[in-house]
């Protein structure tokens, strides 16, 4: 649990407060929750995972080498109160920004890995998040490594204005170059994945996996209801809805995801068939 100790708001796993299930209301000691992949031990609902928790159960022990850890958001348009908001997000999340990037092994397979964390301003993408993910794809392309991305985000970060919107194009360029060089990109969509992230790298994976019942969409549900006056169908914009409509490859239960990733990475090993 060394990774968890370091990153979870600076507190050791033992000192983490219990988690309360939003679905059934049960209070679960943190240790039990983490041991159960952050899934409610009573009703099976998924808690949102912190980047450190995801890393802990995804990457082979000791294999993760973080890059650009110190990269922080700036305030490129001088948006009021944004600097204070960033500082608050830092101390609340124990992170410098909304994504953790690095290289790792998953089931013995080398890859570039990025994990977004909704505890930092809902995982929204400003220049720092865009820059970190771009650098990861560039590094992976230079090293001929596949990229695995765990995605959760409210979308482009409003407080950085058009600089945020342009990160969608910037990251897309890096994903394209990585792809054109014959490298694999697997996107794992988790709750919630919305707005400009859905409209860019979340939907650009060669293979797209989603956790069960994750909210995945472009427009916000309330906005759609208010704009159209229509009642949203049950299960709208959930993983199952996207699978049915042909936009994701598969839904995987959280505990199985690392094994599925290992299998897919192994199938794409670039020297596997002498290629």
């Amino acid at each position: 649990m060394s990774i968890l100790d370091g990153i979870l708001g600076g507190r050791a796993a033992e000192q983490q407060p219990p988690r309360v299930c939003k679905k059934c209301g049960t209070e679960i000691p943190y240790r039990d929750c983490a041991a159960n992949h952050c899934i409610c031990t009573v009703c099976g609902a998924y808690f949102r995972m912190r980047a450190a928790e995801r890393l802990d159960e995804t990457a082979d022990a000791g294999s993760f080498q973080e890059i650009d850890k110190k990269l922080r958001g700036k305030n490129p348009i001088g948006f009021p109160d944004y600097q204070a908001k960033l500082e608050k997000a830092e101390s609340a999340s124990g992170l410098n920004e909304g994504v953790v990037c690095g290289t790792a092994k998953i089931g013995g397979n080398d890859c570039g890995l990025f994990i977004m964390d909704s505890a930092f301003m809902m995982g929204s993408m400003g220049t720092a998040v865009g820059e970190k993910i771009t650098r990861l794809f560039e590094k992976a392309a230079a090293m001929n490594l596949p990229v695995v991305g765990f995605i959760t985000s409210g979308g482009a970060r409003m407080q950085e204005g058009m600089f945020s919107l342009m990160q969608m194009a910037k990251v897309s360029g890096a994903v394209k170059r990585h792809s054109d060089a014959g490298n694999l990109y697997i996107a794992v969509l988790t709750d919630p994945t919305t707005g400009g992230i859905t409209a860019s790298f979340a939907m650009q994976g060669d293979i797209i996996i989603a956790e069960p019942k994750a909210l995945i969409g472009f427009a916000g549900q309330r906005v759609i209801e208010q704009t159209t006056g229509e009642k949203l169908p049950a299960g709208f914009q959930r993983s199952e809805f996207l699978l049915e409509h042909g936009f994701i490859d598969m839904i995987e239960e959280r505990p199985r995801i690392p094994y599925t990733l290992a299998k897919l990475l192994s199938l794409h090993r670039r020297n596997a068939a002498g290629a």
């Binding site: 771009t134 409003m158 058009m162 897309s172 394209k176 400009g196 159209t228 169908p233 709208f236 042909g246």
Partner: protein, 263 residues
Amino acid sequence: MGQAENKTAYERVQAARSGKRPMGAYYIEHMIDDFVELHGDRRYADDPAIIGGIGYINHIPVTVIAMERGDTIEERMRRHFGCPKPEGYRKALRLMKEAEKFHRPVICLIGSSGAYCGIDAEERGQGEAIAENLFEMMGLKTPVISVVVGEGGSGGALALGVCDTAVMLENAVYSVISPEGCATILWKDASKAAEAAEHLRLTSYDLLQFGIIEKLIPEEGKSDREICSELKHFLLAEIGRLSKLSPEELLSARYEKFRKIGA
């Protein structure tokens, strides 16, 4: 600096949204000769919010992709107020690929509050359609010039905005979120949109200063025809410049244009 302060940000938002402001169809009519409209995404439908086709700008064949909201209320209903659906973005990409095949430059005209917001658009993958355009446009081996002529509404605008040269008309705006949406999130009060508009730095002057666009076409004191003529003049010069680049040089410059933003 005087020109930049002639209007408040929100006055420019209102100008960009004005029902009297020309949109895509007007620019096609006045800049492009022998325009032939091409319909449909070959997947699902034709989206009337986007007009696509080919024609000449002076004597150069170009592909034009233009958002259009329509003038009459009937036409606005038919074009769903210029907010493109996934099939609109897919039609745009199809025509851009065609332009690449025939070595035609692409001109995108942007003016819409954003991508269409509705159950059907989500069912058909609004996010995926935009994502695919961003991805493919980054590798399109023909010059792309995007012009924001009205409201450049977030991801729905960017889906036609991955380009070699980004242009804005003076009173166009380009924003990550609508000022109303921003005010609602910040202060739970959409009526503070004017204040939000200032903070978002969404005017052509702001974005030119930030290096997010390359060119601003002045409007002050000019008729629509004069603005159109100046835009055409710029497009011709820019097509000339970009057409001299090899595909590798073009794509490398396009990559760097976006790569440097927030680096």
